[in-house]
Each structure stands twice: as C-alpha cells, then as structure tokens.
Symmetry: none
Subunit: 247 residues, 2 copies
C-alpha cells in the first residue's frame, strides 16, 4: 500500500534499463516518496532487473502504475513538471529544483495533483512529452559537464521535495543530548587555569601579565564547551599538578 | 590543472570500488567541484575502473591528491565536515547539507580551507575519522530507508554547494583578520596534550584509555581555535611541564 502522505508522482518516461528503474525507486524512497508511474518501459513490465536493484524499495515497483503514453500518465494531474538538462526552444516557465518543489508543495497543500516527468536515459524526453508539461525544471549543472543519470536526477528532485516539506527550520541540527557548560562552569574553569598557571609562573614578563590573562579568559569564553569538556579540562590540569607534586 | 574557483575539497576515505570513485568524480564535476582527495583507496591508485567510469570527469582523478591517513588528508584545512548517515555518540555540531554548505561558503569567502569527508561504501567512516572533523553533515533521508551510495552522497553535497554559491557569487569576498589554526596545527596540539598527559598518567584506568583519548581529540577538533590560541595552549602545557621539572 502506498503511504497516505500527499506528494508528487514521479513519472519515468520510456525508461530503458531495468536497473535504472530500480535505482530510481531507491532514490525516491530515500526521501519518503512512493508514487512511481511508468510510461512504456523499454523492456516490458515487471522487470526482474529492476526488482533486483530496488532491494528495500521493491514495494514502489510492485505498486508502480503503468501507462502507454505520457498523456495517459498525467491525465489526472493538475500541474506537471518536466525535468530537463538543457533549456529547450519551448516557451515554458523554467524552475530550479528548489523553486519547482516549493511550488509543488504549495499546490499539493491546496489539494492539487502534481507529476514530475523524468526522461529516458541518454536520449532525454521528446518535445512531445515536454509539451505535456506546464513547466520545466532545470537542474543547474556545470554547463561544461552535465552527466546526471536517471536515479541521480530523481534523487535531487526528491531531496528538494524533502527540503521543502521537512523540518528544515533549524539549519543546524542541535547536538543530541548535549549538556552545555553554564557560564559559571566556564568561569570556574578559567579561574582554575589562571590560578594554577599563576603558581606555575606562566604569566611572565610582568608587563604582559594582564594581556595574557585577558587572552586566556577570552579564549575560554569563545569555546563552545560542554559540561563534559569542562570536567575533562579540570582533570587535565589536576593531573599535571599531581604529576608535579609526585616530582 | 584544477580550476582557480575557491571550493571545498571532497575527501573520499578508504573508498572500495574504483567505479564508485569514478562516479564520485562525475558527481563532483556536475557541480563544478574539482578538488578530490583520496585516503588509502582499497584497490590502490591509479585505478583503471575509476578512469573508465569517470569519462568526462577523468581530469579530477588525474589531479586527485592521495594520502595515507585521514589526518594527512585534512592537515592543511581549517574546518572539516564528515558526512554520516546516522547520528553517532560523538558530541559534535551536526548540520543539514544546506546549513553545512552555507557555513562552508562563508568560511571559504573568508579564506579558510574546507574539507568534506565521505566514508567508504557500506561500512561508513570509523569514529576515529569522524573525530578529526569539526562537525558532521546528516543527510535527512527516510529514517526507515537510507540507501545513498557514495556518488549520490557526493552529488547531494555538491548540489548544495552549488545552491549556496549562487547566493554568494556577488558578495564581496573579504579576508578576515583572524588567522585560524590549520587542521595540522590543531592536530599537533592534540598530540602534544595526548603525549604529555600520557606521561603524567592521565589516561587511567586502562579500559578507558581509548575512549578518553577519542574524547580529548574530539574536543580539540570541535573548538574554533585561532593560531594564537594554539600557541597559547602549547605554552600552557610547556609551562606545566617546566613547573614539574623545577618542582
């Protein structure tokens, strides 16, 4: 059973190698997408090579919908994107993957049905397929070298979909279960080092004592210390003193 | 000749199949990245299977820098990211690909040298490699199904790099006045502390030695150290030893 999760359908148009269909299924399922449609796969359907490659994402292939033409495949959709490596002569809005999946997410939230077309390996889509699309998606590859394969193209669009709908508010995922040192703990650490280093004769010559102390405090205060770091750094210093005392 | 274009280095750590190294080169070059570094490729180097797969991106392999250890590979870098599928127990900042490449773009605009580590197929990186990194990048794949291969992981990070520098192209590149410590300098500092603390009997009891050393290295690698900080921290340690010797 496909998930209930509202999402675009990914339509593979006349895909050739079964392996690539399987790899595309895996690429989709990495980003929780599971609505695959196939238009006239070259080697028929089902295809054992696709199954072998899909491994954990085989369910997507079992549930894939099969169509004879691109027109049939997108008949129930309200908005269709076609991925294409290069700009064609066609007059059509062109989106970055980001712009396209942002628009797709908005439309899907409004109850629309969205499809993304992916052309066959090598040849790419025919203009007749692209003509069925409302807009194209241009992946901004190096103009001197565009060599995305089918699964990679599916992967990038899937990634952008996930980026648009996922929990990306926080770019920086916080360190799991980290207990940060409090200001008081950092302060106590700074004092511990300052006191021992004073005894050890670190602050020298006299005219530099103040700036050396400021630099040291400043360093501790700039460091993103966890409570465990602080304990370890206390331990380091205590051990050095113990070593000295044993002489 | 590599391009002059300022960019992160992508470091493949102990890659296994030559084909995957070639596919990673293609993935990079799709997004105009051409600084590949290799740490101890399993089947030696050069590798004809890598060349065959790289096709139009073969130049990246010819120019790839070869290293024996991850530490050597990132020695000249000021900030290192490690890509990892799952959150590890290590206390380290974790970024989304977007957040990571945004930070990388900022740092590179300030004249820093950045590396991104990619682990070997299947096995992934060892904690010892990840301990060398300042932060990790988590690709937000489906928690029930994460099956990115090496080239796909390279592709997604390359894509995010490309997305970010689109925004940075027009920003004035300003050299910061701060001189950040290189990875080699941080590494030397970590080793200095580890060696003296070993002598001082800090690593005890025996069953905890390894985890204590990893924690200590991990702490140094997380700290945003300037060259001046590193010099001061060497000085702190040297003074403690001098104190002991006088004692």
């Amino acid at each position: 059973m496909p998930t209930d999760y509202p999402q675009p359908s990914f339509v593979l148009v006349r895909p050739q190698m079964g392996e690539n269909i399987g790899a595309a299924a895996r690429a989709m399922w990495n980003f929780s997408l599971d609505r695959m449609r196939l238009v006239a796969p070259r080697d028929g359907w089902p295809n054992p090579k696709a199954d072998a490659m899909a491994s954990g994402a085989g369910r997507l292939l079992d549930e894939a919908q099969l169509f004879e033409t691109t027109a049939d495949a997108v008949e129930d959709c309200t908005y269709v994107f076609a991925t294409t490596a290069r700009q064609r002569g066609l007059t059509k809005p062109a989106f970055s993957p980001e712009g396209a999946m942002k628009l797709a997410a908005e439309k899907i939230a409004n109850g629309e049905k969205i499809a993304v077309l992916f052309g066959p390996e090598r040849a790419g889509m025919e203009n007749d397929d692209i003509a069925r699309a409302n807009a194209v998606i241009n992946v901004p590859v190096n103009p001197e070298f565009g060599s995305l394969n089918l699964a990679q193209c599916v992967l990038l669009i899937g990634y952008e979909w996930q980026r648009q709908v996922g929990n990306y508010e926080n770019e920086r995922i916080e360190m799991a279960k980290t207990i940060w040192a409090s200001q008081g703990e950092s302060e106590a650490l700074a004092k511990h080092y300052e006191d021992r280093l004073e005894e050890a004769g670190f602050f020298y010559p006299p005219e530099k004592v103040d700036s050396m102390k400021v630099n040291l405090r400043n360093m501790w205060s700039r460091m993103p210390l966890t409570r465990a770091d602080v304990q370890m750094l206390h331990g380091v210093l205590r051990q050095m003193v113990r070593w000295k005392d044993k002489g």
